[in-house]
Symmetry: C2
Subunit: 219 residues, 2 copies
């Protein structure tokens, strides 16, 4: 019978991936990369840490197989390694939320008062009927890197400026980075105050994309 050492080695290898998920700083980088690929410096700036430190963490994530790396001239761009890696990150996040009551409380406090939501299935149906306007309130670069088909990009800080362009006889659905991102919440609040009918999409772009590719594969 094969040695116990081999099995031990197996667990050590899996632990490498576990370790990748064990630092808040690394998770913050993953969260940013779930929206769009980025360079080391951008990531460092967005997550408020030194470039050298971000580089170290990114290398750890790369070694664990969660990220891929590619050189673009003088910059190095990291991005998620694939559907499976992204799915794993979302699962871990959701599992944490489900199990740790503290997290949920912290999230609620962070997001402020509740707003009406719409699920993925219903939004798809409404999109098919064409009686809804979908607004992506993330920064423009993230919209450029990928968005819900038919959505229109209006970063949160420009919402008021473009209010008149939005039809007032259709419902508006706002979405952003994910369930813990406050942009869409805030957008719906402002739209409602402006007298519009608005809801927030449950989840965000990474969740939508993952479910979408999953659908395509099983259709």
């Amino acid at each position: 019978m094969a040695s116990k050492a081999a099995k031990q080695f197996l667990f050590e290898a899996i632990a490498v991936m576990g370790k990748a998920f064990s630092s808040p700083r690394r998770l913050e980088l993953l969260d940013l990369l779930a929206q769009a690929p980025r360079s080391v410096e951008e990531l460092a700036r967005a997550s408020d840490q030194s470039t050298a430190n971000a580089s170290q963490h990114l290398q750890a994530l790369h070694a664990a197989g969660l990220l891929t790396r590619s050189r673009e001239g003088t910059r190095v761009v990291y991005s998620f390694a694939g559907e499976e890696a992204l799915s794993l990150w979302l699962s871990l996040r959701d599992a944490s939320v489900a199990h740790l009551g503290e997290v949920e409380r912290a999230a609620r406090e962070y997001l402020g008062e509740d707003v009406e939501t719409i699920g993925r299935a219903e939004l798809q149906e409404r999109l098919r009927q064409g009686d809804v306007v979908v607004v992506d309130v993330r920064p423009e670069e993230e919209f450029a890197a990928g968005h819900i088909e038919g959505a229109r990009s209006i970063p949160l800080e420009e919402l008021e400026r473009h209010l008149a362009e939005l039809p007032d006889d259709q419902e508006i659905v706002a979405y952003c980075r994910g369930p813990f991102c406050a942009y869409a919440h805030e957008a719906v609040r402002r739209l409602t105050e402006a007298g519009r009918s608005a809801r927030r999409l449950e989840g965000g772009w990474p969740e939508w994309r993952l479910a979408d590719t999953h659908d395509r594969q099983h259709a």
Copy 2:
């Protein structure tokens, strides 16, 4: 806009669950618990570590929300907290295997030469037709804690003793703990040598169970 501190707290909370997966010793405990609930001492013995140490690790896993704990007289029995936790563990394991070539090589070496396999869908079909014998080659306690419906328990070391009881006009399917467990491989090898037609189920009991409850929920 809500504070950056809240978001930071969120990542810290998720990292707690990541940390739970970051030690080989803890993963070994999870692997054992994926088969059946067990007491601290059993787990310590099976994973070859001191009781105090196993207790510490189990408490960490419990704190992360992956395990539940219940007292049974003088013993404390730990078990997986639910489908989601189990699913997370299996996903992490599979993702590691997919990404780290080393792991796969180690696994192959551990399992020895390849044997023919059968997938879940095909086995279900064959079970419906009734022209297959399913054998659970894990230790009896694990069979007792849960097994594939219709399967028969023959621990690996008793395989030869019960060989005559297995029909020789039907194919035999052996399964065990999972893709990295060597029991079923070994069983199929021995059965083939004895002139029987035998295959190993892809995956093992935890995978089957998870897919099964998933089916029921969507039927």
